[in-house]
């Protein structure tokens, strides 16, 4: 298809006529130029119908050409809801329409609009629930299918997204006349400036709007300002500042990159948003904002129609008119809502070009071509009152209606930053007030209506941020041009047949807003929630002014009191990938990680860490675990315990500190000895455990659980901030690697690896700690018995962890040392009935319920949780952790299966495994105090409701005297 609507140069600032691109829309092939958006290229090919509306499936086309509305939403293969007036075309691009039943041009669901009067505002609250359940069984599935716009592609290719940090003194958002002036003045004042503009080319309205009859001022000013900032300001073009977060933290989206800019101060020069005129059929393709027509002409070299009607209430509409005429569009008439407008050169020029101008008139209704596919006539009527017209005027054939009745300042970023919207009744315009610190507005957003005023306002904004302007910039002379009133005080014309759309996204008409108020929802927030006004993809950009005026009139409140709904981030819809991409999702490996991989470990997550669960193939999981267990029980094994938390507690009050933070007693602990530690929270619940090794009178090395250490450390700091004890607390978890060598041959392995101390039981007994070198590596050796065998936990600086593992592997080779993982360790400790915090305890486990009475020092004045424990221990015990066993061939309960007594839940299993050592199923479970006696039968409800009768057993299951760990 040829580009029949294309205008010759110099029209088309953004397109490169040397590069023709072809793309498909709705199954047909079209051509455009590099630099075209999908919408501009289609318009060049005389295609105006881009989408179907949300509810009534009415045809929709270009409204703003600024990527600000939902009318241009199209479907790309991998991307739903793409703005056709923002997305650039590329060779071979495939574009489809969306949200239609049948085809985009013939949508069978358009019949819905004929039933509009049966679908009043909030109609879904008013019906669809009788008989019971019919909503979820019938209506909701139906509505869900009809609702929604585009389709996700579940097979979409993953894309690359990234992020970058930036810093500056002043971030200026908006690169129009005001933003550029501010940037130049700020650079002159020595500030480090980032200028952010959403368009491909700086200049804002200077690129497309008409400020003078000759149309020369804008281009000249633009060039002058660009020269001033060249090389002195960092410019981000095609970049959307999509929000304002505390302390001027700005997410700026540039393609697939998110720039996170931390600015010291901000200037928002984001301009204003032209508002639609509200009249019957104001949504037809071919009806657009005046600025949209100008963008088509100037930026893309596209003729927006052949015969136009312009409806306006300010001089900008006359600029539009001149641009249309210069582009060869005939202008049938201008309807000026003002009865007696002040003279303006642009209006004068339009009159001189023999365009019929109707003062005190509006476009009251439009009629469509067949299928509502385009506008075909505009009825111009004289105003007879607020929102009413009398007969008269004229009905004109046209294929374009340009609307320029007024503006809203681009309030979103300032309001996110805490500014408040006010309403200036004399100017019939919203204003932004109460700006936060370090935040300034400039230009049209600040109600500057002429170019000179906008430039002056840009410079003034820099001065308000505390910069001294140069003499040249400090030019306060006001020019002769008077500031203009750009808004009319009423732009809404209710029609007996409705379809005067207030919110295009949601197909809301004047009556919908008024009826929402009549139903009782007259607060602007309630009206929004009830009617959905402003909830759609354009978030009320083009509805806010109309809704505020309608609600104010319905409730009798002022527009300032009525206000608009809260502006929330983002400014424009943003891809999840841009925000979520390149997420910092760390994974921690121990120093021996590569060794585990080489040994065929299967890993499991433990907090951020990855730990070997077992070594071997997943299909042989059980055999692998049993082999590892038996090796430890009968021979020797080694396990990487580097992920254990490690804390250094140093200082003259170290012992006292431990006394308070843990339940046990530590001041009398001998240097060179190790004690079990248990920590409670203030409610007396057990929250962590480990061992405390006294390395020196004033130095303890304390271990904590892998997942608990960060919390333990935080708790310690928090408490000592109150206690002010002379103690230094460091979390050294990452600084140490550790291996536990356990089994009857552990000592021999260590000797073979080379250890410079006497390892005999007499010299180095159970629960002792010593510093030594192992295989030439400086180490802390702790004799602990978590798995219930003679064992040495060897802690070395993490740098040496890998070397230690290798040395132990080599030394252990002749003893057939077996590396074992978390699963085997869990089973080994279960045989010894050592609890695992978080598995055998829960958020309500008190020490005596989990058999830790022995770990509570009775004669201490205080420890965290003592007071609570004192209260709790006085009331009858509610449950206790006991051991149980079942024959090897009985159904195996799983962790968290319930213990059932009669009809009641009397407890639950916390740990349960088949023990190859004992050849039976063993486990621990919470039971009622009545069930704790050895030999009691407890009934466990296993998978599928199968009951298993288990016997309560004495704990531990293995080596009750603890002889083996003391060898």
């Amino acid at each position: 298809m040829t580009q029949d609507n294309r205008l010759p140069a110099p029209h088309g600032l953004l397109i490169d006529r040397q590069q023709t691109l072809t793309f498909k829309f709705d199954g047909r092939e079209y051509s455009g130029y590099a630099g075209d958006s999908i919408a501009s290229a289609l318009a060049a090919n005389n295609v105006w119908l881009l989408s179907r509306s949300f509810k009534y499936h009415r045809p929709r086309g270009i409204l703003t050409m600024a990527g600000q509305d939902a009318n241009t939403m199209v479907q790309l293969p991998d991307e739903p809801n793409v703005l056709a007036d923002r997305e650039a075309i590329r060779e071979g691009l495939i574009v489809e329409g969306q949200n239609y039943n049948g085809s985009l041009t013939n949508d069978r669901d358009m019949f819905v609009q004929n039933f509009a009067r049966f679908l009043p505002v909030g109609f879904y609250y008013k019906a669809f629930y009788k008989p019971k359940r019919i909503w979820e069984n019938f209506w909701e599935p139906y509505f869900r299918k009809k609702a929604g716009l585009g389709k996700v592609n579940e097979a979409a290719q993953e894309q690359y997204f990234d992020k970058k940090y930036e810093f500056c003194d002043i971030a200026i958002i908006g690169g129009g006349a005001a933003g550029l002036s501010a940037a130049a003045a700020a650079a002159d004042a020595g500030a480090d400036v980032i200028l952010i503009d959403e368009n491909p080319q700086l200049g804002g309205a200077l690129n497309y709007a008409r400020f003078d009859v000759e149309d020369s001022a804008a281009a000249a000013l633009r060039q002058q300002l660009l020269d001033k900032i060249a090389g002195r300001v960092r410019v981000f073009s095609n970049a959307v500042c999509n929000g304002w977060f505390a302390d001027h933290y700005l997410p700026v989206i540039c393609g697939n990159r998110l720039h996170k800019i931390r600015a010291k101060q901000c200037i928002v020069a984001g301009g204003n948003i032209e508002q639609p005129l509200v009249f019957h059929n104001n949504d037809l393709p071919g009806i657009m904002q005046g600025s949209a027509a100008q963008r088509l002409i100037k930026l893309y070299g596209v003729r927006p129609g052949s015969r136009a009607v312009v409806a306006t209430a300010n001089s900008a509409g006359y600029g539009v008119c001149l641009d249309l005429l210069d582009a060869g569009v005939s202008v049938a008439a201008v309807a000026d809502l003002r009865t007696d407008p002040p003279p303006h050169p642009l209006a004068q020029a339009v009159a001189e070009r023999n365009v019929k101008i109707w003062h005190g008139h509006t476009v009251y209704e439009a009629t469509p071509t067949a299928g509502y596919r385009h506008v075909s006539t505009a009825a111009i009527r004289p105003l007879s009152g607020r929102g009413t017209c009398s007969s008269g005027g004229d009905t004109l054939e046209c294929d374009l209606i340009c609307m320029s009745p007024g503006y809203m300042p681009a309030w979103q970023l300032p309001c996110q930053a805490g500014a408040q919207l006010g309403y200036d009744d004399t100017r019939a315009a919203f204003t932004l007030e109460n700006l936060p610190q370090g935040f300034a507005l400039a230009g049209a957003i600040n109600n500057s209506t002429t170019l000179a005023a906008a430039c002056r306002d840009g410079r003034r904004a820099v001065a308000t941020l505390g910069y001294s302007l140069t003499t040249e910039n400090n030019d306060n002379t006001s020019d002769e041009e008077a500031e203009e009133m750009i808004n009319t005080d009423w732009h809404i014309f209710p029609h007996p047949r409705g379809k005067e759309f207030v919110d295009f996204d949601e197909d809301l008409q004047v009556a919908d807003i008024l009826n929402a108020a009549a139903d009782g929802y007259d607060h602007v927030q309630l009206a929004k929630r009830y009617s959905t006004a402003g909830m759609g993809p354009s978030q009320g950009r083009h509805a806010a002014l109309s809704v505020a005026r309608l609600l104010a009139s319905a409730s009798g409140k002022s527009i300032a009191e009525t206000g608009i709904t809260t502006a929330r981030p983002p400014f424009a819809a943003e891809k999840l990938g841009v925000m979520g991409g390149r997420h910092f999702n760390p994974e921690r490996h121990t120093a021996m990680h590569q060794q585990h991989i080489a040994l065929g470990a299967q890993f499991m997550p433990a907090g951020l860490w990855l730990r070997p669960a077992y070594y071997g193939e997943p299909h042989a999981r059980q055999q692998c675990i049993e082999k590892e267990v038996l090796a430890v029980r009968n021979n020797v094994g080694m396990v990487d315990v580097s992920t254990l938390g490690g804390l250094e507690i140093c200082g003259s009050d170290a012992g006292e500190f431990l006394n308070r933070i843990y339940t046990g007693s530590f001041t009398k602990q001998a240097v060179g000895r190790t004690r079990y530690v248990a920590m409670c929270n203030e409610q007396g619940v057990v929250i962590d455990d480990g061992v405390a090794c006294r390395l020196h009178e004033q130095h303890y090395y304390v271990t904590a659980t892998t997942s608990g250490v960060d919390n333990v450390y935080r708790n310690m700091l928090r408490w000592n901030a109150q206690w002010c004890l002379d103690v230094d607390i460091s979390n050294v978890s990452a600084a140490w690697a550790a291996v536990n060598v356990a089994g009857v041959k552990a000592r021999e392995v260590l000797q073979r690896a080379g250890c410079d101390i006497d390892l005999s039981t007499e010299a180095f007994s159970y629960m002792a700690v010593k510093t030594a070198t192992v295989a030439g590596i400086p180490a802390r050796l702790i004799r602990v018995g978590f798995v219930g065998e003679m064992g040495y936990e060897i802690h070395v600086p993490a740098t040496f962890g890998n070397a230690l593992w290798q040395a132990l592997t080599a030394a252990g080779a002749e003893f057939n040392i077996q590396p074992f993982g978390v699963e085997a360790q869990r089973l080994l400790r279960l045989e010894k009935a050592h609890i695992i915090i978080g598995q055998d305890t829960d958020s309500m486990s008190f020490p005596h319920e989990v058999n830790l009475e022995w770990a509570l020092a009775k004669n201490k004045p205080f420890f965290v949780g003592a007071r609570a424990f004192e209260i709790v221990s006085k009331r009858p015990l509610q449950r206790r952790l006991v051991g149980f066993s079942l024959p090897a061939d009985s159904p195996k309960p799983k962790e968290a299966h319930l213990v059932i007594s009669g009809e009641a839940m009397s407890g639950r299993v916390t740990s349960c495994e088949y023990s190859p050592t004992l050849n039976k199923i063993i486990g621990m479970a919470y039971v009622t105090p009545q069930q704790t006696e050895i030999g009691t039968t407890i009934n466990i409800r296993t998978d599928g409701g199968v009951m298993a009768a288990a016997q309560v057993e004495a704990l531990p299951f293995y080596d009750a005297e603890g002889a083996r760990q003391k060898l």
Binding site: Y129, W135, L149, F245, G684, A896, R908
Partner: protein, 413 residues
């Protein structure tokens, strides 16, 4: 086309009867003053009027109707809690929810689409099995399910073993549901207003008046009001109001943020949640994808949004559903959650006589609206806490008899 809509199309004038009128000036005295016109306050007012015949009730709302957390929550309804007290309480709430549309004559769009919570660690598998077993025992539909069954429910979920936290299992709660959150509050408001309850918006309580350890009235920005009984139902500001009433609550308040995408054709049916990723996702009847997570990491009374949370939350959402990377986010917002030490609410009497508490609703207040309203009304009318709410008394913290739901709340809501 349902007959209910015919009158709108056939009558010449819009047949409006205000769902809740503008009651005019405050009276000088009421039987019951309910502070907070959110779901909880309105539900209590409704049941007081409907079931206990108390009509002289004023609901005082400082902003607009149901504009606090009722407006900001993500409308998740479920009963798959952990403790017997919690499961039973929310189970009863779901029973009430199911019939609210017909009771109100107002569609709250209750839709039982189920909730799937994902386990990525063996600790989570254990905890989910525990919940499933307790739930089933108490008559709530919960099952621990494997990957195959997960894929039947959510075929487009990323179950790759190469994910940072591969999915191991899921907790499937077939009773899980959603509803139009605003409509729940509006339905209660409509029903209460029809029974003579006065709902005063833009009416802020500035002080609590008491005498001899007993509440006697409230001061508002529109004047003084005396009353026999006060119910405070001001989620997000519970501690602040309690302070005015002269006592402290064991509550720390944190912002909770949520987000929503543009409308899309349906592609997720149940609510899908991951505690490991602190992220949950469901699709509304309008087609928007609602994305939420855990509360912010520090206490605050500001409903600002943060970039950090958005980045991490959306990263995690795209980890669950990678194709969401191409979907566009429309809006981000926040509410304030009043967290108690045991992640369970506080209901019933307070240290001030005749001053009742409906507080500590953290991230789970919406789903409790019907049952809490009903029980609070009974509690006020009979001056004694019904059995279902007794475990949630404020005094449990003195007695160290907490109802710990930490494991069943977190990011699941």
């Amino acid at each position: 086309m349902p007959f209910g809509l015919l009158k709108y199309g056939l009558s010449r004038r819009y047949p409006a009867k205000k769902h809740f009128g503008t009651p005019g000036d405050l009276k000088s005295s009421y039987d019951v003053v309910i502070i907070g016109g959110g779901g909880h306050g309105l539900a209590a007012a409704y049941y007081l009027a409907k079931e206990h015949g108390i009509r002289k009730i004023a609901v005082l709302e400082k902003a607009y109707l149901a504009g606090g957390n009722t407006a900001r929550n993500t409308a998740v309804i479920r009963s798959n809690y952990l403790t017997e007290e919690g499961v039973t309480f929310y189970r009863e709430s779901l029973k009430l929810f199911r019939d609210l549309s017909n009771e109100f004559d107002y569609n709250i769009m209750y839709s039982q689409r189920g909730q799937l919570t994902l386990a990525h660690t063996d600790a989570a598998v254990r905890s989910f099995r525990w919940r499933a077993e307790v739930n089933k025992h108490l008559g709530v539909q919960s099952e621990l399910i494997g990957i195959d069954d997960i894929l039947k429910l959510v075929p487009n979920l990323n179950v790759s073993a190469d994910a940072r936290y591969p999915i191991l299992a899921g907790l499937w709660h077939a009773d899980g549901a959603t509803a139009r959150h605003d409509a729940v509050a509006w339905g209660y408001a409509k029903g209460a207003a029809e029974r003579g309850v006065e709902i005063h918006q833009l009416t802020e309580v500035t002080d609590i008046v008491s005498s001899g350890g007993r509440v006697t009235g409230v001061e508002t920005n529109r004047g003084s009001v005396s009353c026999d009984v006060v119910l405070q139902a001001v989620a997000g500001a519970s501690s602040l109001l309690a302070k005015k009433a002269g006592f402290r609550l064991p509550i720390v308040s944190y912002p909770l943020q949520a987000m929503v995408t543009q409308p899309l054709k349906p592609f997720i049916n149940p609510h899908v949640s991951s505690t490991q990723l602190h992220c949950y996702v469901h699709q509304t009847a309008r087609g928007e994808v609602v994305i939420g997570g855990g509360s912010d990491p520090y206490p605050l009374y500001s409903t600002r949004s943060t970039l950090d949370l958005k980045e991490s939350l959306l990263g995690h959402a795209a980890e669950m559903f990678p194709f969401l990377a191409q979907v566009r986010l429309l809006r981000q917002w926040a509410g304030i959650t009043d967290m108690t030490p045991d992640y369970s609410p506080i209901m019933g009497v307070s240290p001030l006589e005749n001053y009742y508490l409906d507080a500590g609703w953290g991230t789970w207040g919406f789903k409790a609206i019907p049952i809490c309203g009903k029980l609070m009304a009974q509690c006020i009318a009979e001056r004694s806490a019904p059995a279902l709410m007794q475990p949630f008394a404020l005094s449990r913290f003195d007695r160290l008899e907490q109802v710990n739901e930490m494991g069943a709340t977190a990011a699941s809501h």
